[in-house]
């Protein structure tokens, strides 16, 4: 057996691949489900926090800033381990799926809040004045005039951040979430062969490459449409 055959045997073993493909596909669905939940809930929560911050209530703003800074500063794996192994000691038992969702969702919410807040503050003062001079209230001006412009500015960095954080669903492996990577490492240890990991990598590429391409397209589109 020459080097090439050994390489194929190790990474693209057809019997191993066909045997474990179904379980990895199950992992794909878990990863998709998790990612969608994280992105939707995380961005909505982050937007809501950024809007709250616009009211410039000192106490609320302080809480939001503390939340955003902590969740952006601590490494995600540390947060996942603290929540997963810490909460049971306090008598709270959450499934590994729920823990992973909660932690990554909150991290994305923290980043979204900062990105959208930056967008809101960069909206020209004249926009606010025009809106208020036609009788719109503060909340109306915020929601109908400032937020759409803030969102437009926020979309490219937000997309990049959402991709980076949904990729971290792979961290779920350490607490037993049956995502792509976990299914693949299980298969790898049963079969004593690296082909399932290769399949996992391909699954990630198929899943995330379209998103990466889309983010580049969005960046281009929104840079160009700027008024």
């Amino acid at each position: 057996m020459d080097q090439w055959d050994r390489f194929i045997e190790t990474f693209f073993n057809s019997t191993v691949l066909s045997k474990y493909a179904p379980s990895i596909l199950e992992g794909v669905w878990v990863t998709i489900e998790l990612s969608l939940l994280i992105v939707i809930v995380g961005v909505v929560l982050g937007t809501f926090l950024a809007l709250l911050r616009a009211y410039e209530n000192h106490f609320l703003s302080f809480l939001i800033v503390v939340f955003a800074d902590i969740f952006r500063a601590v490494p995600p794996l540390v947060l996942i381990l603290i929540v997963f192994f810490g909460l049971p000691n306090a008598g709270i038992f959450l499934s590994s799926f729920l823990v992973l969702f909660l932690v990554l969702m909150l991290i994305l919410a923290a980043f979204s809040e900062e990105i959208i807040w930056a967008g809101i503050t960069s909206v020209d003062r004249g926009q606010w004045e025009a809106a208020r001079s036609t009788g719109l209230g503060f909340t109306q001006a915020l929601v109908w005039v400032a937020l759409p412009q803030a969102t437009r500015m926020a979309i490219p960095p937000l997309t990049n951040r959402a991709i980076a954080i949904t990729k971290m669903t792979a961290l779920g492996t350490v607490i037993g979430v049956p995502d792509i990577l976990n299914q693949a490492t299980t298969a790898q240890s049963f079969s004593g062969n690296a082909s399932p990991l290769m399949l996992a990598a391909i699954a990630y590429v198929l899943l995330f490459l379209p998103l990466v391409v889309m983010s580049r397209w969005l960046e281009h589109r929104f840079a160009w449409r700027k008024a």
Binding site: G126, E129, A130, A131, S133, T134, G135, Q140, W144, A227
Partner: protein, 293 residues
């Protein structure tokens, strides 16, 4: 340019509604001596005895800088008052106090006899009665021209979609831009953007329109269209307070010219008087500087 629809109802040279300032002040005082709530609308306001806009003893400081040092001004129904003065004299601040984008320190402001300064005034309600046009247009870049106009109609007036659209198209037609209704601000020239901004304010059917250097950000060849729209508004009987450097426009369209300096109204009169025979040294100095430019 589209025909001016509102204009058909009133002749352009309507001066009968010009009020006697002394009398109107007394009437207002009688009606409002015990400072009653701003929602009260005296019946006399309709016949022009009460000024459309009245500013009494307006003071405003930014920190240690006293920008307005007691400004008194009455603008009658359908009157176009033109304000000029050197940079930093407080023209914009005075205008912005009139719809309380800037909060006055002292003084009172009345719209059609209704007190709009002080506590307990519904800001969003009174702002619909005062249209404002900005030097930088401030159109919403994410909305089409039509939606720029309908936003306040829907959110503030509570109009339904079709009603607000009909209203917006009428306002855009008045500024000659009905065919640009679906264009975004970035697709419009500066002059067109400013006309959309005027339509946005007009659609709320304000009783007074404030203009803060509406043509200063425009290329010279685009100024004419905006001034034309303003001339039409004047002909249709709109009450207008205009800060601008367009002296020719003032000569031909203004009922009164006001010269402001260092937070005070230094001089006022007919355009021919103020431009031709300025009484104050500061006015003369300013005018000669402007003409020399």
């Amino acid at each position: 340019m589209a025909t001016w629809r509102m204009g058909t109802s009133r002749p352009a040279d309507d001066t009968t509604s010009r009020s006697n300032p002394e009398l109107s002040h007394r009437v207002r005082s009688l009606v409002f001596l015990p400072a009653v709530s701003a929602v009260t609308r005296p019946a006399v306001s309709a016949n022009g005895l009460v000024p459309s806009l009245e500013i009494c003893g307006l003071h405003k400081s930014f920190g240690p800088l006293e920008v307005l040092k007691g400004v008194d001004l009455k603008v009658a129904h359908s009157e176009l008052v033109f304000v000029l003065g050197p940079s930093g004299s407080g023209k914009s601040t005075m205008l912005r106090c009139c719809n309380r984008l800037e909060e006055p320190d002292f003084g009172e402001i009345f719209i059609e006899g209704d007190l709009i300064t002080g506590r307990g005034v519904n800001l969003n309600a009174i702002r619909q009665r005062i249209g404002m046009v900005f030097q930088a247009f401030n159109l919403y870049p994410h909305l089409s021209a039509r939606k720029n106009v309908t936003l306040a109609l829907r959110k503030v007036r509570g109009m339904r979609w079709d009603e607000s659209n009909a209203h917006a198209m009428e306002a855009l037609d008045q500024v000659g831009l009905a065919d640009k209704a679906e264009s975004y601000p970035s697709e419009l020239s500066g002059g067109q953007q400013q006309r959309v901004a005027i339509a946005r304010a007009l659609a709320l059917e304000p009783q007074v329109m404030l203009f803060d250097e509406p043509t200063s950000a425009l290329d010279p060849e685009l100024v004419g269209d905006v001034l034309e729209v303003m001339r039409n508004m004047k002909a249709a009987g709109m009450t207008m307070l205009v800060v601008s450097h367009e002296m020719n426009f003032a000569r031909e369209a203004a009922d009164r010219v006001i010269f402001m300096d260092q937070g005070q109204i230094v001089e006022q009169g007919l355009p021919a008087e103020v431009f031709g025979f300025p009484r104050h040294e500061r006015t003369r100095a300013f005018l000669s500087r402007v003409k020399g430019m």
